[in-house]
């Protein structure tokens, strides 16, 4: 327990410590455990081998997203079919709720958690997936775990954890026109580097953060892990409560009022201290894009590709040169104008309705460049239905882009959707590691508006220059 003024993180952490023996990590209680098909099978096998059961099946929810087909081109093969049926069998045997193929609530795990109101302020939330940090947008402490830990949580609803330290990420002022939550987080990761947040939990604060809608906050928290932080959080406020109210698993009636009263306490106290701090003036932001092979290799879209000769040390110089070589880019050249082969709008970072609207707004009345393949992959069945209800799919298809079924798709390229070797993708996802979107593929990460602008010109394009 922390004495004196506490941060949002401290409050949520302290409320979930079951035990803390000297010399051992804390036993931390998990309120919500989300499960998907790729990282759970050995954990269920461990339970079965030891004769254990899922302690709180009603606090566990599973979905299928990583290897699911999103079009007839990515139909299930035998391995994928076996993986999905294993999850179905495990969930049935242990009484775990599963949003399976065909369920109207199925989708990417980090999309449906908040969408269904499963993810709530003040909760601890884990999943065998590093982008669990997404759920911090509702004011939860949410982080990714490994498969062994998935087994621990299934069996005991608890995890052994060392206490991370809270770090303030403050974005003051107002975002300029054409700049989005994706651009904020790409700037944060570029400033900190991909190891800069190791050991920390980010709390995003400041006027520019408070002004973000919930979907923007999810985009922001989603990529906290790309700076090495396990989790990112935004204090719940009226925006949060209005967004959560009425969702499938949110409290209702008197329970809602009690919950909101409790959630209003989830704010960092005046005088609470953060171990570290990064402050960004929103006015200095422009659309961001990555040029290299990790998410920290980002630049303002009008900036030049960095020159390794300017690097502070030999190892950084070597890393920059390795990335330039892989990406076939020239130091000091502009990224603007680079040819693009594939554009992907989707993933747990940017597949929500507002993301699809942003992409459709650029595509409306325009055509995807002839040499470009553009895929738009909604994050959930509900988002797909909502987008179709407002006709976004008509705009997307009329522009020459592909409208897919929900899933992780080209973010992780496990389901048959891939970028071919040597091809360049502009992607709204979260990782640009070598081969992430297919062996030999090259990835530029950007916002949905930037990605769509690149699709229509066939080149890396500043979306602000396309404004009507």
């Amino acid at each position: 327990m922390t004495d004196g003024p506490r941060t949002l993180f401290d409050k949520v952490w302290d409320a979930h410590v079951v035990a803390h023996e000297p010399g051992s990590p804390a036993v931390l209680y998990v309120d919500l455990h989300l499960v998907h098909e790729v990282t759970s099978a050995p954990a269920f096998a461990t339970l079965n081998a030891r004769g254990l059961v899922v302690r709180r099946p009603e606090r566990t929810a599973a979905t299928m997203d990583h290897i699911t087909p999103t079009s007839p081109d990515s139909a299930l093969d035998d391995v994928a079919r076996d993986t999905l049926s294993t999850l179905e069998k495990n969930c049935a045997e242990h009484g775990v709720r599963l949003f399976a193929m065909g369920d109207a609530r199925r989708g990417i795990v980090h999309v449906i958690g908040p969408e269904l109101g499963l993810s709530q302020p003040g909760m601890t939330i884990v999943c065998g997936d590093s982008h669990t940090s997404t759920h911090g947008a509702v004011g939860a402490l949410a982080f990714g775990i490994g498969t062994s830990e998935v087994g621990h949580v299934l069996a005991t609803q608890c995890l052994l954890q060392r206490r991370p330290e809270p770090m303030e990420i403050r974005v003051d002022g107002q975002l300029p026109a054409g700049v989005t939550a994706k651009d904020i987080i790409l700037r944060v990761v570029a400033e900190l580097g991909i190891g800069g947040g190791t050991g920390a939990v980010f709390e995003y604060r400041g006027a520019a953060i408070e002004a973000l809608d919930m979907e923007g906050r999810m985009t922001l928290c989603n990529m906290s892990i790309e700076a090495g932080a396990r989790a990112g959080m935004v204090a719940p406020d009226e925006t949060t409560f209005a967004w959560l109210r009425g969702r499938d698993f949110a409290p209702s009636g008197a329970a809602w009022d009690r919950a909101v009263a409790r959630w209003r306490e989830l704010r960092t106290d005046d005088g609470a201290t953060f171990a570290r701090r990064l402050v960004i003036d929103a006015a200095t932001l422009e659309p961001m894009i990555t040029w290299g092979t990790n998410p920290g290799m980002g630049i303002g879209i009008t900036e030049a590709i960095p020159n390794p000769d300017d690097a502070p040390d030999a190892s950084t110089r070597a890393a920059l040169q390795k990335a330039l070589d892989y990406m076939h880019l020239e130091a000091g050249a502009p990224l603007l104008g680079q040819p693009v082969d594939v554009v992907f709008v989707g993933s747990c970072t940017n597949s929500r309705l507002s993301d699809l609207r942003a992409a459709a707004a650029v595509l409306d009345g325009r055509q995807v460049a002839p040499a470009v393949r553009m895929l738009v992959v909604p994050g959930s069945e509900r988002i797909k239905a909502a987008a179709e209800a407002e006709g976004l799919h008509h705009i997307i298809v009329a522009a020459g882009a592909e409208w897919h079924e929900p899933g992780c798709s080209l973010c992780i390229a496990m389901n048959g959707d891939t970028v071919a070797a040597g091809k360049v993708a502009v992607s709204t996802s979260n990782r640009n590691f070598e081969g992430r979107q297919g062996p030999g593929s090259r990835t530029f990460l950007a916002s949905p508006a930037t990605a769509a602008a690149c699709a229509v010109t066939g080149r890396v394009t500043d979306p602000r220059t396309l404004s009507r």
Binding site: A15, V18, G23, S24, P25, V27, Y29, V38, T39, P42, T46, L52, R56, I67, V79, A80, D82, T83, T86, D129, S130, G144, I145, G146, T147, S148, E149, G151, H152, A155, T156, C158, L159, L160, R162, I194, G195, T198, G199, I225, R230, A255, R258, A259, R262, N294, G296, S315, A318, A319, I412, A413, M414, R431, F433, E434, G435, R436, P439, G440
Partner: protein, 197 residues
């Protein structure tokens, strides 16, 4: 789980890159399926296409130690990364820092992440680079790393994780032992939230 060897004495391979992410260690297409079979073949699969890559050197399969650049294991939480490293035969990774989730996953699979100061890291690269047959000695009991021509250095490991490795026990048994306190916690939380238990 078997007890961790004390001391671990082995040749080391050098991987002179920073920020090696788990997509390189085990590319996502090898995460399909539900078993850990074949993960040694998946290890650094795409980098192994380069004949000069360190895992393609003669005798590479005998090395139990990998000395890698800063922030090793960043990115995806996939436990397939330590599974593949262990399947290859590695028992320790030496670096100047590790990503959080990878470190946690490794400790649960008998793979020891050893953080050394930059000067030791440089000395190991110089020594092993010049004399690949050099054997490193990593003592989890004494918490020391030494090698001929390299000043011995201490390292730290979470005491609980060290206990589990040395005794060959896993954390699940420890957690299950908290059953009564977990039940009490759940009851207290329900009262705080105004729910019926």
């Amino acid at each position: 789980m078997e007890r961790y060897p004390v001391p671990l004495v082995s040749r080391a391979l050098l991987l002179p890159h920073e920020n090696v992410d788990t997509d390189q260690i085990t590319p996502a297409r090898f995460l399909r399926g539900t078993s850990q079979d074949g993960l040694a073949d998946a290890l650094f699969h795409d980098w192994r296409k380069d004949p000069g890559f360190v895992l393609n050197q003669p005798g590479a399969r005998e090395a139990q130690v990998l000395v890698a650049g800063d922030n090793f294991g960043c990115g995806s939480s996939r436990e397939h990364a330590p599974w593949a490293l262990v399947a290859w035969g590695f028992r320790a990774i030496v670096s100047t820092s590790f990503a959080d989730i990878f470190r946690n996953n490794s400790l649960k699979n008998g793979l020891l992440p050893v953080v050394v100061p930059p000067e030791t890291h440089r000395a190991l690269f110089a020594r092993v680079g010049a004399a690949p047959e050099t054997e490193l000695t990593i003592d989890l009991d004494a918490l020391t790393l030494s090698a001929p021509g390299v000043a011995p250095v201490g390292f730290s490991v979470d005491p609980f994780a060290r206990h589990c490795l040395l005794e060959g026990v896993d954390e699940l048994g420890y957690l299950v032992g908290f059953d009564a306190r977990i039940t009490a916690f759940e009851a207290a939380q329900a009262r705080t939230h105004g729910e019926s238990v």
